[in-house]
Symmetry: C2
Subunit: 335 residues, 2 copies
Amino acid sequence: MTTARRVTIHDVAFAAGVSVATVSKVVNGRYGVASSTTERVQGVIDDLGYESSLVARTLRARRTGVIGILVADFEPFSTELLKGAARAVRSSGYELVAYSAGGSGLEQPGWERRYLNRLSGTLIDGAVLVTPTVVDVGYSAPVVAVDPHTGHPDMPTVVSDNQDGALLATEHLISLGHRDIGFLAGRSDLESAQRREAGFRQAMSKAGLTVNEHWVQPGDYEAERADPAAHALLEGPTRPTAVFAANDLSAIQTITVARSLGLRVPLDLSVVGFDNIPESALCDPALTTIDQPIQEMGFQAVHMLLELIGGRALDATHLSLPTALVQRGSTAPPA
Amino acid sequence: MTTARRVTIHDVAFAAGVSVATVSKVVNGRYGVASSTTERVQGVIDDLGYESSLVARTLRARRTGVIGILVADFEPFSTELLKGAARAVRSSGYELVAYSAGGSGLEQPGWERRYLNRLSGTLIDGAVLVTPTVVDVGYSAPVVAVDPHTGHPDMPTVVSDNQDGALLATEHLISLGHRDIGFLAGRSDLESAQRREAGFRQAMSKAGLTVNEHWVQPGDYEAERADPAAHALLEGPTRPTAVFAANDLSAIQTITVARSLGLRVPLDLSVVGFDNIPESALCDPALTTIDQPIQEMGFQAVHMLLELIGGRALDATHLSLPTALVQRGSTAPPA
DNA sequence: ATGAAAGCGCTAACAA
DNA sequence: TTGTTAGCGCTTTCAT
């Protein structure tokens, strides 16, 4: 490893025999530089392979031309969102920085505020916060929150229509003829989980069905937590003929548990999930689920952010994207 | 939108009635500060919600504690890689910045060098370059390239075993009884495409089979370019009973073309792909493919980078990860 | 134990 | 047209 120092503006200035200011002007295409000088400086820049430091430039200039996506971790949800964000930023002239503290520091709340303080004002012109727990960031940079844990009227947000999705899921089961439907809930501290439960209950009451509270179990959006819940759901004195799980992970776990109990899916038990992650299509039987348009959420969030940065007014500060039923093999009429 | 200015170290110093130097010492846990002062300053920091600017800090300090993943765009490959990278960085104390120019600037080559120059030396301590076209970056910061377009002995790289994977794919077809096997090639400027073709030829000659050069068509790793190639492969005077496509996208396109020609897959034509992207499992029939461990590549790349940054020697500068056959529905013995 | 001051690489007034 | 100068927010000697 040789120790080739970074090429700075000083190196270019020295080599070209001009001042750093002149180089800066050339780099930024400012007026007031003789074309012969511009040419010479540009030649040196090319020779040396100089590129201005984002960091140094950003510290001085007000606009940085970079927008940040702040995530707690790079997992399926956030990376899916990134794809949509990338599409939105394309040909906008902006660059994208996705920032993650690598899972560390997530235990203590407020990571979103810390990230924002560390990056905003410098480096980025605005940020998309992915699933922030604290939405009151007490900071005025343009910010859009995606799938926040709890609603907040003051900050622009993008969510998917969790309640309507849950309604669709439950109505699908009801239309198949199910009456005994269980619900495997999500993380109760999350807005999305509450909406999904609300949608479930709404569909049930709309159909004149009673929710059996023994068949409502906490699943936490996780496979491990969903496991005992699924057992409770399926091993009681009576069991539902169908289960709507608040997300795909717990739905898949429900299928696993059902099979281990000798139940056939979907013959003995129908299962519906929520999110439509790739794993839903791959499990056996393939999961009937509610598609949450994650990429689209990323796209819209960046779109809103760009409007805010540009000083334009938002059409809507709270965007709720439609969900849709994706019917696969895990649901059928009750036996 | 209120205009709450960012809280700087000066604000803290002023509020606490000390100098910025003292605040800096407290923030960084340096010696030489009275515990009473530390306490008072810390109180103000908490009150004001101060967090030091990554940019400013990074400009001054040699180590930044951040590593960069430089990608041309956020698409399925790079985002998958990100997940593995995130796993590797966890509990390393490092943070992760994924940087993308949003697709712009990709037309002209050398984006990797420009990105590196913009970020390195400041902001990041080292970088993972994803599918760089130019591997000679003429810069000495710790860098690891993943899936580079062309091999380079001087830079640490992580690739998957493209040749062996192609060998596996072709041998799978041969073991099913196929003798007339076509090859839909990838982007010829990419190292990976060359290795895949080499693996194909190796398997053929190993089995004593001749490669029909009419059945070797350029596919470019893209659906659009694969389309005419698949037509050429399947509409000639004679046609192969099986096709190995250099990646999944072109394999899926081959299936589409075959069906449009009235061929049944896998009864009339067997197809194997390479990469194992999610779409491979979802198409009909599900694609038999070679699994490229993308997440693992990201994990290993970051692992190597952390070793380099830590000044440790690498076990191996060129890592090649094993691939494996994933048998699904698109292959069967010839009719 | 504390603070003044220099400077990281760059941009932007302002002078020359 | 060009160069000088003053910072951006922070860390780090080096005085005090």
